[in-house]
Symmetry: C2
Subunit: 570 residues, 2 copies
């Protein structure tokens, strides 16, 4: 396998055999290791010393179902620490098949220069990108696919990334006309923008495939894995995740009092019924939109939807739970049409919906728009693409918005906006937000699924639960597996060990595998330590530790001593 | 002596005998100690747990010349660490005479409530402040002096503090109509605003004076001190500091290539001649303005000026070096009339001129105005008082402005804007900026005066020089002495020991005194450590370590190892 080094200072590219020290890593694990080895942890995240890394997981390209996520990483301009975000689409599959372990974008061109990286087989070159500059992610990929063919994969930033907004993400195209998979979090779109890289275009590889050390071992394990997913009552054809996608949990989170409502001022939203997955499904079917499609080739869960308007015209796909929470209930909006419009705008500008929804919530608390009034909110959000001061403030995320507007109630940890679980009434997620090296991030260890095992309102057991989930999340993000696909691997880790050994011939034991997953967190924590991040930087905001949240009057009361000892047994 | 506790949650005030643990502290030392003892270091600086402390130095009220500075402190919303800023005027003298060791403002009222604290003798009460709300600091003190008498001292915030802008300072009135002494730095005006405290009015104490443990000892030392100042060739009646004030150094700093010019992109300004102290003096005298007046009662240096326009109408007083550097050369302005207008606006809105000048420099680099075009700059600055998004961004200081606008060249350390000495060509100041618990602050240890002893462009000796200066600065800020008055005390510390023993009867030796000064820094560093600040947070920005500064092509190349060991011998 090989690495592609892209030097934005000299505008040269160079293929490199994967160095020994990186061979056993993929996705998030590779990002953490490479950042620790190659960049000064305290560097300016938007300066020349940061690196933007695009990497498939270890299973990328091997044809494992639900395992084609593409990781993007670098030092986060939002958290100041390590960052990995991943997206569906065809990126993980494409890079994996091409034997590309990572694209590493380095250096910095003169200010204001934008390029696109074009890869076709072994050829990789930087080309001027003036013709797509200033365009949103939809128009960018459309224009580039017109030029390079509909099969070409496009990774791009929108206006938000060009403007170096720290709420900017990176869009990755998928099969057919899918344009809205996002490695959204942590401001990686701004890192890409700071490199002057508007887009990466990878032409469809011809006749490329992964080579296997033991194809039988691999095939047996990957088949067993797919069958387990298909047979899982939650994930299979009759399962809620297939039928309703991630939005299947809206009702349950609202009932547990953890649904962010009007800038996290309540955990319960009176209009939650019209935001529920069941409602979403009915609306889409009634309008003849698509539901139960997939974001990655070969996915057997197929939780994707395409939300359409009343005339059946697509608005956005896939409309997901976190977006519904952050730009729906958090903004007082109970109408999915409104949520879909805001989702489309965020996707197009290249903004993280979580960060931006949280920033809009704070902006509304500051009086800049009205909760529940979608037109007032659209007027705000539109300013992001225009690059006005207001737009730049919002695009820089919730902490910046709170600082500029003088608002104290800012739902963030380590500088990053919280996803759609208020930590006061789902304390396991609070522990993850307050300890994960990734900052407030539900995909780093989501305790929602364990709500029947550990009382979400209690302190007992949260620490242990969070650590367990964080280790699993590190595994998922390093192999390219979707969060939804974890149950069979948790039940039988040997499946993953066999798939990895089948591809790479490492002869790993379950212990080796467990150690590798834990090492991801250790590496990330070490990077953050070197970056100057301390336990005080990770904390849940003061107001959430003191102001009770309706309906349970819950505060986040997990003691600091518990938080500080989460990784004692790592 | 006594403390006044002001509880903004209950709107009650309470006098308290000074607790034993605070008795040997004043000004900055008291602030550091009280913050460490009484507030959680990691608390929200604009939340209810922070405290705003107003305290005279140990010499306050005793009638020592040049020793009446008033310290204000709290956790800084700008740096996240300990903060003390001090101002001239009659505050230190008034509180000292009244036997008030500190006013400690605690808690937080409901959002949007503003009060004023009225103190007359032993009576202290909180009153509604709706009639001065929204006013600048000039109009606020004018209105309150109309009500309470021209002799009443007023401490107030402007619009910037009300809006919780982290570049907001606190204004303190002086003798007669002086309204423009500022405890400017670190966003303490926002802390006062977060307490809902618009102003403090202290009526002139009648027949109050400090009591002395050994009046002879005190009198001999304080007379000797005053005589030394008068006899000092730099400070006396023919000295540059009396004749030209702090602006006496404009020419020298420009010649050494350290004068911030156009957002710190050069250390040399082609129009420096018209910003020099000599020019300032001529202009003021030609227009029949005042020069050589004082900011504190009894000051024998008298470096204050009142800058007037062509018709002799006062614009602002006193026009000082840091302001000339930050809102003059740093904005490409070589006309003192322009600088004075911007200075007045900052004072009126209640903004730190250093933080705001730096923010304006970054805003101009981002294209929001033009270097050298004062009208374009005034148009920006005016937005602060209007509370527009742009105004709020600028008012929140240079780091926020850089983040929102996507500008990397942000001259700040520990979140606070650098004063008017580029650290690349005055490396001793760079060491202070990068190690002082106060963040980038020239008054925390200014190496300019030692430029003939330690080569400003070299690395050798900077570490030791900075530590020495930081200890002296801690002494000055804790006793209420002006920076200008330090030479006689440095030459003969026994003078200060005798003055303190004369007042308090502590029987201190020079060792006790030295230990007390060092302890200020130790206490502050410990507070910052508990607040989660690490050595990485203190660093000089990356671009200043890599991009050479004209005319010497200097970079800030003092190694991290030197910075990290500054306090090894504390």
């Amino acid at each position: 396998m090989k690495l592609l080094r892209v030097d934005m200072t000299t505008l040269q590219t160079r293929w490199e055999i994967v160095p020994e020290i990186y061979q056993q890593f993929g996705g998030r694990a590779l990002i953490a290791r490479l950042l620790l080895e190659e960049i000064p942890a305290a560097c300016d995240a938007l300066g020349p010393h940061n690196k933007l890394i695009v990497a498939p997981g270890l299973l990328g390209g091997a044809g494992v179902t639900t395992a084609g996520r593409l990781s993007v990483g670098g030092k986060s301009p939002l958290t100041g620490g390590v960052k990995e975000a991943n997206a569906g689409g065809i990126g993980g599959d494409t890079l994996g098949k091409m034997g590309i372990k990572a694209i590493v974008v380095e250096g910095q061109p003169e200010q204001g220069q934008f390029h696109l990286l074009h890869i076709q087989g072994d050829a990789a070159e930087l080309l001027p990108a003036e013709d797509v500059r200033g365009l949103g992610t939809y128009a960018t990929s459309e224009k580039l696919q017109e030029r390079y063919g509909a099969d070409a994969m496009v990774i791009s930033i929108g206006q938000a990334g060009e403007f170096l907004m720290r709420g900017a993400g990176i869009a990755v195209t998928g099969e057919r006309e899918q344009r809205s998979n996002h490695a959204a979090r942590g401001g990686l779109g701004a890192v890409m923008g700071s490199k002057g890289l508007k887009a990466v275009v990878i032409e469809k590889p011809v006749g490329k495939s992964v080579s296997f050390a033991d194809v039988e071992l691999f095939r047996n394990a990957s088949r067993a894995f797919a069958q387990k997913l298909i047979a899982d009552p939650k994930l299979g054809a009759q399962g809620g995740q297939h039928l309703y996608g991630t939005s299947s949990i809206v009702g349950a989170v609202n009932e547990m009092g953890s649904l962010p409502t009007r800038n996290f001022s309540s955990g319960s939203f009176e209009q939650a019924a019209t935001l529920r997955g069941e409602h979403l499904r009915e609306a889409i079917l009634a309008r003849e939109g698509n539901i139960g499609t997939r974001c990655m080739p070969g996915c057997v869960i197929a939780c994707r939807n395409q939300y359409v308007d009343e005339s059946g015209m697509p608005i956005v796909g896939t409309l997901q739970y976190e977006t519904i929470g952050l730009v729906g209930s958090n903004l007082g909006l109970g109408n999915l049409d409104d949520v879909a419009r805001l989702n489309f705008m965020c996707n197009d500008f290249g903004l993280d919906t979580i960060e931006t929804g949280a920033a809009l919530g704070v902006a509304i608390e500051a009086g800049l728009a009205e909760f529940g009034n979608v037109e007032s909110i659209i007027a705000l959000l539109n300013q992001v693409s225009e690059g006005t001061i207001l737009g730049r403030m919002l695009g820089n995320g919730v902490v910046t918005t709170g600082q500029v507007m003088g608002i104290r109630r800012v739902p963030a940890a380590l500088g990053q906006a919280m996803p759609a679980y208020d930590p006061r009434s789902l304390k396991g997620n609070g522990v993850t937000y307050a300890t994960s090296p990734q900052g407030a991030d539900h995909t780093a260890g989501n305790a929602f699924g364990a709500r029947n095992e550990v009382n979400p309102l209690g302190i007992q057991g949260q620490k242990e639960l969070s650590l367990k989930l964080q280790i699993i999340a590190a595994m998922l993000d390093s192999t390219g597996l979707c969060l939804f696909a974890r149950p069979p691997i948790i039940a039988n880790p040997q499946l993953m060990v066999d798939m990895l050994n089948g591809i790479y011939g490492w002869g790993w034991t379950k212990d080796d595998y467990d150690r590798a997953n834990r090492d991801v967190l250790r590496t990330e924590l070490e990077f953050n330590r070197r970056a100057g991040i301390t336990k005080e930087d990770y904390r849940i905001p003061e107001y959430m530790r003191e102001e009770p949240l309706a309906p349970h009057n819950a505060i986040f009361d997990v003691p600091d001593s518990e938080l500080d000892s989460v990784f004692d047994t790592l």
